[in-house]
């Protein structure tokens, strides 16, 4: 079974530039998550999709971050304009169902973003 795919793996940009990350979840997984993991911290949920609808985006900085999941499969996360504090690893994860009591999330390898 193929895992969660993410690209690019690494990205270096200057502050005020824009950047986009792509995620392809495990086939058949209805729920998709984007997390931000700053060095030395645990992952922080940015947004959760159930199929192509947003379930939770309470921690997404909506003035600069946006995300979409067209057709309920692939997803993109965009930052525009980037700030120095956005330097982090951006992780995508997917799970079969949000309501699943044990809710196993499968994580991709992440995209390491450096903003200079």
């Amino acid at each position: 079974e193929a895992g969660v795919a993410q690209s690019p793996r690494y990205k270096i940009i200057e502050k005020r530039q824009s950047v986009a990350f792509w995620c392809n979840p495990i086939s058949g997984h209805a729920t998709l998550y984007w997390y931000q993991q700053i060095l030395g911290q645990g992952p922080k949920l940015l947004i959760q999709f159930q199929n192509n609808g947003v379930v939770d985006d309470s921690q997404l900085p909506k003035d600069r971050f946006s995300a979409e999941r067209l057709k309920g499969v692939d997803s993109t996360l965009k930052i525009q304009p980037a700030k120095l504090e956005d330097s982090a690893v951006y992780l995508c994860a997917s799970s079969l169902e949000f309501g699943d009591f044990l809710m196993k999330q499968y994580f991709g390898p992440g995209t390491r973003l450096t903003v200079t």
Binding site: Q48, M103, F107, P109, G110
Partner: protein
């Protein structure tokens, strides 16, 4: 304020030693998960515990959920270099998403 605290923050031990890492909160969780994350990779789920006092074993790893479902521990017996990584706990309140702790970074030296 961290919802979940993990201790120690860093741990460096020799191969063959035993260790315990802790995950603590003032909140009650309906379930708690432990993950291991290696450099350049995403977290990988090790175990989910849902019942207060529950103990689960995964080879040399023993996980315990506190009786009040506010804390958990992970004990590793005879650590090996392959156990090196960032150990994350994540707690979930009913109907909500999991929230991650800051992690314990373990280094097992050969």
């Amino acid at each position: 304020t961290q919802l979940l605290e993990q201790s120690p923050q860093f741990l460096s031990i020799q191969e063959g030693e035993n260790l315990t890492v802790y995950c603590n909160s003032s909140s009650v969780f309906s379930s708690l998960q432990w993950y291991r994350q290696e450099p350049g990779e995403g977290p990988v789920l090790l175990v989910t515990v849902v019942t207060g006092g529950e103990v689960k074993k995964l080879k040399r790893l023993t996980f315990q959920f506190g009786d009040a479902r506010k804390d958990s521990s992970l004990h590793i017996t005879a650590a090996q270099p392959g156990d090196t990584g960032l150990y994350l706990c994540a707690g979930r309140k009913y109907g909500q998403n999991f929230v991650f702790g800051p992690g314990t970074r373990l280094s097992v030296l050969p």
